[in-house]
Amino acid sequence: GQQVQQSPASLVLQEGENAELQCNFSSTATRLQWFYQHPGGRLVSLFYNPSGTKHTGRLTSTTVTNERRSSLHISSSQTTDSGTYFCAIDNAGAKLTFGGGTRLTVRP
């Protein structure tokens, strides 16, 4: 089945630093989504990005489908960015496979 690897598993930043989160997957994905999970558990969709580059605010997602990888770039990090970031892949049907997540801590 589909495998999704995220790196790093955890990351600690000082406020204002940038972060690059990676997602690699084992077979071609037709759909890819990035999520942010609040420390309290709420899961929020950041990007639906099966290919190309998308921006929203300080976040940029780039997916290179034929290389089976995606990245999430966070610029000028803030303490409120702390939480866990997941990428999730689907290559057919309704089954969504999540990576292990990157736990981000941003210190003031």
Binding site: Q33, G41, R42, Y48, A94, T97
Partner: protein, 112 residues
């Protein structure tokens, strides 16, 4: 705008007791609905999905079952809880034509 609600917010249950978790989506007709489970500190695992009323597909069962009695409602249940059922349960929806999934606030379950 679409809203998704889950109930209860949290539960503490005994091993062997029954469980029923609910999810309702408002503002979207004929959504695709999904159940996920997350162990503490772990990743999310898809359990079930439903494309239409009365139809539920199992992805990973974990001794749980799901039903969709109404277009806007998805229920997760079991007759006998196990310790391994503890965790965070999330319901999600997607549009009929699109695939992007949107998640509810979740239910935290502790089995003692």
């Amino acid at each position: 705008a679409q809203t998704i609600h889950q109930w209860p917010v949290a539960e503490i249950k005994a091993v062997g007791s029954p469980l029923s978790l609910g999810c309702t989506i408002k503002g979207k007709s004929s959504p695709n609905l999904y159940w996920y489970w997350q162990a503490t500190g772990g990743t999310l695992q898809q359990l079930f999905y439903s494309i239409t009323v009365g139809q539920v597909e199992s992805v990973v069962q974990l001794n749980l079952s799901a039903s969709r009695p109404k277009d806007d409602q998805f229920i997760l249940s079991t007759e006998k809880l196990l310790l391994s059922h503890s965790g965070f349960y999330l319901c999600a929806w997607s549009g009929g034509q699109g695939w992007e999934q949107y998640f509810g606030p979740g239910t935290r379950l502790t089995v003692l």
